[in-house]
Amino acid sequence: MGLRDDLERFREVGEQRREDLADFIQYGELGSGRPDQINIPVKIVSLPEFEYDQRDQGGVGQGEDGTPQPGQPVGQPQPQPGDGDEDGEPGEEGGEHEYYEMDPEEFAEELDEELGLDLEPKGKRVIEEKEGPFTDLTRTGPDSTLDFERMFKEGLKRKLAMDFDEEFLKELCKVEGITPRDVFEWARNENIPVSMAWVEEAYSDVPESERGTWSSISEVEANVERESVQQQIQREGIKHVPFRREDERYRYPEIIEEKEKNVVVVNIRDVSGSMREKKRELVERTFTPLDWYLQGKYDNAEFVYIAHDAEAWAVERDDFFGIRSGGGTKISSAYELAAELLEEYPWSDWNRYVFAAGDSENSSNDTEERVIPMMEQIPANLHAYVETQPSGNAINATHAEELERHFGTDADDVAIAYVNDADDVTDAIYEILSTESESDE
């Protein structure tokens, strides 16, 4: 009991009740979009109660200089004196909802679960070699690393293979008129691992008085119970396990190459005049969760942001989603810049993702003549193009279409997604991220 428990419970409850991740991505406040911190609103400020419809209820305000004219808009309703019930501590107001803070790892995990994704990041650059567990074996080594358990098992196996029911064979030797050769041959037929020498010795050990105890082999079979080796071990215990030098094994540690999971994500966005507010927002909604996700999946994530119209230039993240320019559109300019910037992140050491977004408008022949060859040339885990076309009526916007025609719909390193409104965002994200994970299988 006590507040500390209550606080812990609040965190737990908050975790359960935070906004559904898919809803959050599609409609939530993504926040300043810092890739290392994700704030998901928790909707638990109040338990449900019977309340008035706020719009239908209206309210009372206080003018600062005089009373405003009827009809004037008032923006968001002011806090009302009856609000925020309970014990009326001042300053209790505010804080519309609590935020549940998630780090990118958790985000990636949750998104995997929510969308059924399964992206296993590949390690690339080797950063160190270290001793792993002692799982490899060698025939020589210091005594302390002798794998005794293995040796015992091998010895036991050998014993099981070599032992046989001595008593039964001895009885067989007492059959009237039988010869050691008969016994040996019978035993061989029964797959009993006995030697002729053993049989002869056993035969000569039979006292004269007992010869002829049994009239035939079948009589012995009918009257003497045979005992398997396992039964014998169970009855007598293991008196002797034949250890052999050849069974000795010494354990030695595995050498593991630790590979760092590096990722570089190139975000390319068309900022030309046709990319209006709504389209811009959809790009942000799609790219931001992708960035979070990859950040959470890889040990080390770097982001490159490229804005382009007819030309391309690198920008900071903070500016990336806000930029608007006037010029035309030439998508290949962005890929040229991407190829140049990616030289810093060699394919041998880095996983690469190249995401581009726009409304599919491009200057004529640019897609076919320049963009597609560039996409094929730039090695990457995944190339993706996100088409945002909220108006849905652009005529010469065929970039996505051309890409799809060229690469097909089931290419494993090219994804094309269409986002016409917020409802499409999670599908697009799934489309993009599942393209690569499919190829892993």
């Binding site: 009991m1 006590g2 507040l3 500390r4 428990d5 209550d6 606080l7 419970r9 609040f10 965190r11 737990e12 409850v13 908050g14 638990i44 400020v45 338990l47 449900p48 109660e49 019977f50 309340e51 008035y52 419809d53 706020q54 239908d56 209820q57 209206g58 309210g59 009372v60 305000g61 206080q62 003018g63 600062e64 200089d65 005089g66 009373t67 405003p68 004219q69 009827p70 009809g71 004037q72 808009p73 008032v74 923006g75 309703p77 002011q78 806090p79 009302q80 004196p81 009856g82 609000d83 019930d85 309970e86 014990d87 009326g88 501590e89 001042p90 300053g91 505010g94 804080g95 609590e98």
Partner: protein, 679 residues
Amino acid sequence: MSKRNTNADRFRKQAIATELEEPVTEARNLATKLGLEPYPVNYWIIDYDEMNELIAYGGFQSRYPHWRWGMQYDRQQKQGQYGGGKAFEIVNNDNPAHAFLQESNTIADQKAVITHVEAHSDFFAKNEWFGLFTSGRADEEQVNAAAMLERHARAIDEYMSDPEIDRAEVEKWIDHCLSLEDNIDQHQVFERRLDVDGPAVTADLDEDLAEKLDELELSDEIKGEVFDEEWLERLEGEDGGITFPEVPQKDLLAFVREHGKQYDPDAERAVEMEEWQRDVLDMMRAEAYYFAAQKMTKVMNEGWAAYWESTMMTDEGFAGADEFMNYADHMAKVLASGGLNPYSLGMELWEYVENTTNRQEVLEHLLRVEGISWRNLTDVVDFDDVRDQLEPPAELDSITSETIDDLATADVPDEWLDHEALELAREGEIDVDRYPWKVLTYEGLARRHYSLVKRQNRGFLRRVNQNELERIGRYLFDDARYSSVEEALAEVNYTAGWDRLFDVRESHNDVTFLDEFLTQEFITENNYFTYEHSKATGQFHVASDAAEDVKKKLLLQFTNFGKPTIAVYDGNYNNANELLLGHQYNGVMLDLGKATETLKRIFELWGRPVNLLTIVKEVNEHDIEVAKRRNREPEAEEQGKLIRYDGEEVTTEDVRWDTVEHLSADDVDYDTKPEDWLA
């Protein structure tokens, strides 16, 4: 949470406590002189963390385990961290009351808190709405809320630790109850013993049958499958449907406590509540009633405390001259914190009550002067002159050790003076320079702080309108009692204002308080207006600045905790023991999303399907389009709805108007949109 009871810690708090001993004693003396009758108050010195903890717990030291305290604590801490959230005072309604002073406050802040707390404590003790909770028990018994809450905390903690009971279940159950915490009958005296009318027959029938079944000695399995509750209920049904309660029940918590069950998802039917569930329901209900009085009197109570704090600190100089600036700054911040805060609204209303009462007292005397009537008063009376005459004598205004001898000789009536104290002051036993009020009585203090002559109220007397004059003058008898204004004013009772304040604080709650004292004059002076949401524009617009509109809109926010009224109409609905609730529609519709979520919670407390009848306003898209084009507001149509939750899905269906007509009140209208709004 963190009890750092180190010696250093204790000594530091001890030192602060010693320093505050005198202010605490003298604040009580002053409060009593001013006519307040507070419960005894125990003051505690606490540090910042402890203050945050107390705030999270709603002012008490121990509460039942629940995540929302954690949430409040988290928020409190963040507010403190990111500036602003400075906590000043907590006092809880209890006898004795407990008040908490934060050690880091300046001495001026501490004094402000202490005077504020004394007034709250008076309000707890004397307001009748607070009495509703206590008088359910023996009168002499103390409130002892802290003990009750502590008991609840322990009991619930025990349930949670019980290995037989799932902790999460207890917490969920509490959540369900809390969804209904405002669905009580807060205007009734709280009764622990629940008295909710139900069908007497049902119980008997149930018992008889159960007994007979027992006699048959059937295995539980067969009983469960064949003679299950549904069967029993059907049998009851054949005896003719039983409808209860006879009158709609507003106390939903009591109703489910008496007749509710829990839903057993494994058995897929309602089963009796566990002992602990009923117990938790009882506790939550008791707490709801305990906190109800606070919620119902928030504006009055905060205003009351702010008013007396100001009187003591500013007017009576309880803050030393060196502390005063500090205090004034604090006060300004509290009162100025935006919009309609309960402190400033409440305080302004109390001052308004005082001023109007004093004004009426003066006017009644003036109207009895020969030759003065309500028709000519404003023409013949010189208000400046009247005000000068109402000024207290200079001897009363400034009392020092040098001037106390003048008090007895000048024109200061005997009844204004506390002669015993005066004697002690002369002997030097009382520090009259510091505590001049000690030598005065209630009457003397009322004269000394007479409201109509305060600078901020200078124009108040003159602002009287003709209507009010007529109201006072028309039925006044004996209207030529005085021959002159001087003679009339000499008879004025200067305690009239304060006397009225004490009466009002005893009998009113926020609704009646606002209803009676929120006047046209007050609303216009403070630039209040109403706003409404427009379906045509999709946003809120100023709707009206007419006093009656502002007032009814404001009253809507205070009536029934600002929540819609929901009552139980049938506990045997559909003749299948379903619950039927009715929303008593006053023209403002429910938030249907929240209502549905709440229904789901009630299902957990009822165990069987729950239904809610309500009325909604519907506007069709076409009308909105047309209205948009014509800059008009579309007409909404009122439609009855039945929302039902059966444990699996929510269904909503339209019902005929005559099904909901009884729920619709036609004598209220909270809509303040003007006819030609937005045109």
